[in-house]
């Protein structure tokens, strides 16, 4: 049980985070349930007592000021970092970092694009998809890149692509890897309007297929409000 209302390092009473939930408390059908999660960076408390659930078919939009711990929260959910308190349940069972279930069911797109500068766009996408354990053909990779408007760039080394183009290459993975939970960290960064709309469409179709998503973003997510849940991370002012 995390300690509520404990003093912050500077002596002021620690103002617990506002956790705004557009939906009810986590129910039994939640794909992901976080129970009193806490994270610290050194002696600083990033967040604590963070309790939320993500249901299948819903996207949880994580918002908060810079440095509030959004990325840390996403890394905890993806199983890359251990929380300093609380538990995480995925499909009903408690999961630890690098849990086999998380590795098989969670797709994590960090703010880094995970592309090798030396390889071409299609080689990169193919390698990413195979690394995720999915079979893929070069044709499927080409089709995915074409749909993202990268048909002309697919045989170029990623080194020569612009940052927006790199992000689009990185997002091709979303169309080729089957995962139940998408964890996306600032996915709209550097994307133009068309690419943002395509990404929103990808997320929508993922949710319609019964998937769930956790999206940290500063931009409003252009989806039907019924599909969205909200979570604000960060100390109250």
């Amino acid at each position: 049980m995390a300690q509520q209302g404990r003093a912050s390092p500077d002596g002021a009473p620690y103002n617990a985070l506002r956790v705004m939930m557009a939906c009810k408390r986590p129910s039994n059908r939640s794909m992901l349930e976080a129970d009193h999660l806490a994270a610290h960076r050194g002696s600083t408390t990033l967040f604590q007592d963070l309790t939320f659930g993500v249901e299948a078919g819903r996207a949880l939009v994580v918002t908060g000021p810079n440095g509030a711990g959004k990325t840390t929260l996403l890394r905890i959910v993806a199983g890359l970092t251990a929380p300093s308190g609380g538990t995480l349940r995925f499909q009903g069972s408690v999961v630890q970092p690098f849990d086999a279930m998380l590795r098989a069911q969670v797709l994590f797109a960090a703010h880094t694009v995970a592309l090798s500068d030396e390889l071409t766009a299609e080689e990169n996408v193919e390698a990413q998809v195979k690394l995720a354990g999915s079979a893929v053909t070069r044709d499927a990779v080409r089709k995915a890149l074409d749909m993202l408007g990268l048909g002309a760039q697919r045989t170029l080394p990623v080194r020569v692509l612009s940052s927006g183009q790199r992000r689009r290459v990185a997002l091709a993975r979303l169309r080729l890897v089957k995962r139940r939970l998408w964890v996306l960290d600032e996915p709209f960064t550097a994307l133009d309007a068309a690419a943002s709309a395509a990404l929103a469409a990808s997320i929508r179709s993922h949710l319609h297929d019964g998937g769930a998503a956790l999206v940290a973003t500063h931009q409003p997510l252009n989806l039907e409000p019924g599909l969205l849940q909200a979570l604000a991370v960060g100390s109250a002012h």
Partner: protein, 241 residues
């Protein structure tokens, strides 16, 4: 260039032998493609080795008996330093661009993926050194018998250098100035390899059997192949946390 991993579809089979093999193949194929695209980096390691080995005959008296005596040791030290030169890049590039997170999150077993990366590192930096070693050995007047043993000892020993080095490379991920720290961590652990490797060639020069030294090198390789990928994988997970 890319291996076929298409036969496996279900990530739930991870841990199965074909999952391990597919993971090793994935990592070797990817890292070798990258290595061949950036040929300068490949050339730097090999050129560094050749230059270090060549410095000694140039800087000391070109006396045949002296060169023959120091030859095996110098060649082994140069191979060790060349391996060290490229080790800091083993995980650093993947860590910087986020690929390492994806590798750690893959349904494939992480030690298998790390093994593949180590194998690719050896193929792109260790094997070229083994192949030019007989040429560099000629500078020291090593006879045919000694050159054969030299190649054999390097063939068994340089993979151990990559395997031990991978643990250090993973441990120093994200450390500022990690290259120097990596050398401090790894060099003491690699000393036995150096002793047995150079010792094998010394024995051959003295007309003795090199099999004892080569067997010990083989034992070190067997131990490192089994243990190092797991240690490096754990260190990678710690580095990502």
């Amino acid at each position: 260039m890319h291996s076929r991993v298409s036969e496996r579809e279900d990530p739930a089979t991870q841990g199965a032998p074909d999952g391990v093999l597919a993971a090793v193949r994935w990592a070797i194929a990817r890292d070798l493609s990258i290595a061949f695209r950036s040929r300068t980096e490949l050339g730097v390691t090999l050129t560094f080795y050749v230059i270090v080995v060549t410095l000694f005959p140039l800087s000391i008296a070109p006396e045949r008996s002296l060169l023959a005596a120091i030859g095996p040791g110098v060649i082994w030290v140069a191979a060790l330093l060349a391996s060290l030169l490229s080790l800091s890049r083993l995980f650093a590039a993947d860590c910087a661009d986020g690929t390492l997170e994806q590798i750690a999150m893959s349904p494939f077993p992480l030690p298998a993926l790390v093994s593949g990366k180590i194998a690719a590192h050896w193929l792109s930096t260790g094997l070229p050194v083994v192949l030019v070693a007989p040429l560099t050995g000629l500078q020291y007047g090593l006879d045919a018998q000694s050159l054969t043993v030299l190649v054999a000892s390097l063939l068994i020993g340089t993979p151990v250098l990559s395997l031990i080095g991978a643990i250090g490379a993973a441990l120093t991920l994200g450390v500022r100035g990690g290259g120097g720290l990596l050398a401090l961590l790894v060099l003491p652990l690699q000393v036995p390899v150096l002793i047995f490797g150079a010792g094998a060639v010394d024995a051959a020069q003295a007309g003795l059997s090199a099999s004892a030294n080569l067997s010990l090198l083989g034992a070190a390789l067997a131990l490192a192949v089994v243990a190092a990928p797991f240690a490096a994988a754990s260190a990678v997970r710690v580095a990502l946390d």
